[in-house]
């Protein structure tokens, strides 16, 4: 497969970025020892939020999760008289199986590309006459099969990059599903972690002087960790999901790289502020076997007084990289590079100084791979 891999080593100070139903930070066992864990889904959400908020992608390149289809389509058809547009839209949505309820919201919360919405509006405009019948609800709607087909044709993912990367599943309409092009591993600490608790008391500000007890108390669990984070993008699937738009696939892959490498879930950040940037970011692009390097840390990295845990982790990662190269061979062709902010020796891995240069290297690689 044609792939882009991201390898990140990131040291976070005491924090609780991703927690379970008891409030404890998530964990896993690996190599026989307990490790800090940040789940795949939590990291992906942070990436999606960054696509929207930074912003890394235009609205037309993103998908929206909405029930307000009727409103969204009415805005797009605002040049038509509303008494003509509204029934046509309702008939169209009903025929697609996204029934419209009173008040105008569809039954479903749908993950639709903004461009899908634009094109759906255009398809409704083109079939205005055929859709002008009486609105009868989802089961009884009388829309001809040809018109229905024309409407369904536009629901193809609409070249939304987040949809192409993370996929879509519609239980009722599996044929409109999209298989995700990006795979994100659960982040694990390179070392073992122990449970640590912060016991707190909160004082009642209005306590009278003679009353000295606390208003409440409890404890918060946390840990600090050097995390290994890994993701891989299947570039061929990304391109197919984006209907062969190479420029957009390039932009999407670069946006994913930037967002994945520089975001973390935000759990309990108001209490911990663990805004620690990654200390090591490497990429590997080309065609062949994807390789998660977590086994570099199967034997947990042990703290030493004279060396930083992060630097020891980078060296273990590079050793595993080289070992895998010897055992499985490199990608054909292959591009790779890294930014290293630790004091670690990085062997034959080509280093760059800053983000723009690293981004440039990746861009060059993807352009060759996708023949942009």
């Amino acid at each position: 497969m044609k792939l882009l891999e991201v390898h990140v080593l990131q040291t976070v100070v005491p924090s609780n970025l991703n927690r379970d139903d008891t409030g404890s930070p998530k964990d896993a066992l690996f190599g026989g020892f307990r490790r800090a864990r940040i789940s795949s889904q939590a990291q992906k959400r942070a990436v999606r939020v960054a696509f929207r908020d930074w912003p890394l992608l235009e609205p037309s390149e993103r998908a929206v999760r909405t029930k307000r289809l009727l409103e969204a389509l009415l805005t797009r058809l605002s040049d038509l008289p509303e008494d003509r547009a509204r029934p046509a839209i309702e008939n169209a949505l009903n025929s697609l199986g996204f029934g419209v309820k009173e008040g105008g919201a569809s039954e479903y919360l749908l993950f639709l590309g903004n461009r899908e919405l634009d094109r759906l509006a255009e398809a409704i405009r083109a079939n205005l006459e055929a859709l002008s019948g009486e609105v009868k609800g989802k089961k009884k709607t009388d829309v001809s099969p040809e018109v229905k087909k024309a409407l369904e044709k536009v629901l193809d993912g609409g070249k939304a990059v987040d949809l192409a990367l993370f996929g879509r599943m519609l239980a009722d309409r599996p044929e409109l599903g999209v298989d995700a092009a990006a795979q994100v591993a659960h982040a694990l600490s390179t070392h073992k972690v122990d449970r640590e608790f912060d016991f707190y008391t909160a004082v009642d500000d209005l306590n009278p002087k003679e009353e000295t007890g606390a208003g409440m108390m409890g404890d918060v669990e946390f840990y600090s960790a050097t995390l290994y984070r890994y993701a891989v993008v299947d570039l061929q699937t990304l391109l197919e999901n984006l209907q062969g738009d190479k420029e957009l696939a390039l932009k999407g892959a670069l946006a994913f790289f930037a967002a994945f490498a520089s975001t973390l879930p935000s759990g309990k950040q108001n209490s911990f502020a663990a805004h620690n940037p990654p200390l090591f970011v490497a990429f590997r692009a080309g065609e062949g076997l994807p390789r998660n390097l977590a086994t570099a840390f199967e034997r947990p990295i042990r703290p030493r007084e004279d060396r930083a845990l992060s630097a020891l982790s980078v060296e273990a990662l590079v050793r595993e990289w080289e070992r895998f190269d010897r055992a499985f061979g490199p990608l054909q062709p292959e591009w790779k590079g890294a930014i290293n902010l630790t004091e670690a020796e990085t062997g034959t891995l080509p280093l760059v100084e800053d983000w723009p240069t690293l981004r440039g290297r990746i861009e060059e690689a993807i352009k060759k791979l996708l023949e942009v």
């Binding site: 497969m1 792939l3 379970d20 139903d21 998530k26 964990d27 896993a28 066992l29 690996f30 190599g31 026989g32 490790r35 789940s39 795949s40 889904q41 999760r65 029930k67 029934g99 039954e107 479903y108 919360l109 599996p174 298989d179 995700a180 795979q183 994100v184 591993a185 659960h186 694990l188 890994y230 891989v232 299947d234 061929q236 699937t237 065609e287 062949g288 076997l289 994807p290 390789r291 998660n292 390097l293 977590a294 086994t295 070992r323 895998f324 010897r326 055992a327 499985f328």
Partner: protein, 223 residues
């Protein structure tokens, strides 16, 4: 008949057999449906495509490291309720095997096994251990994974995946005409999610009989 061996190892893996909805369980070792799915992904087969050739292979699993059963608690906001009438926030408990390692064998047609062996080195879709975020490390591909021996012999003779010799006896689970009943036999393309029954015979492999690990090719390349 020849056998193809692969390694399913990673920090997290999950092999569900029967759960639906919010609680997702895992079988103690890889399922037929899970392994067939992984192979189909390596070949680049779409979910709607026929997989009867893969499902016809005979599966065996050697449990080199059992792992520990743990649970990943997940939440999702604004999920559509089953009656499609309202949105709710849902919780889900996803069980997984932490730190497990399995040697998996597939017995069958040599030509098919050869093409699978090649596909594992350059898979068309990313491979995963039961859930998309559960990535293998190291990769499932074993350079010497294509064996002339039949299934049970291949699984018995391959070196232990860890270092040295196993600390305890290993479990061997072989597809057989009778034994433990598992509902994980794919009977239709994956898009239809239909699975049938299969029997698995479980045996104990004495630790003394297993060749010391790790596999030679891995060691030979290490500094």
């Amino acid at each position: 008949m020849p056998t193809l061996l692969l390694r399913l190892q990673g920090p997290l893996q999950s092999w569900g057999t029967r759960s639906r909805f919010d609680y997702r369980d895992t079988w103690p070792y890889p399922t037929k449906s899970g392994v067939v799915g992984l192979l189909a992904a390596a070949l680049g087969r779409d979910r709607t495509e026929d997989i009867s050739d893969l499902a016809a292979l005979r599966l065996g699993v050697r449990v080199d490291r059992r792992g520990v059963l743990k649970v990943d608690y997940q939440t999702a906001q604004s999920v559509v309720a089953a009656d499609l009438k309202r949105l709710r926030d849902v919780q889900s408990w996803r069980y997984f095997l932490s730190d497990a390692a399995f040697l998996v064998g597939l017995e069958g047609d040599r030509f098919l096994l050869q093409s699978l062996h090649r596909a594992l080195l350059n898979p068309r879709f990313p491979l995963y251990l039961g859930r998309k975020g559960y990535l293998p490390s190291p990769p499932p591909y074993l350079p010497d994974g294509l064996r002339d021996e039949p299934l049970e012999e291949a699984l018995r003779r391959y070196p232990y995946l860890g270092k040295g010799e196993p600390r305890e006896d290993l479990l061997l689970a072989l597809e057989a005409p009778q034994g433990r009943l598992v509902y994980d036999q794919p009977v239709a393309p994956f898009s239809q999610r239909r699975f049938g029954a299969r029997y698995v015979l479980e045996k104990v492999l004495p630790k003394e009989e297993i060749p010391k690990g790790p596999p030679v090719w891995e060691e030979a390349h290490v500094d």
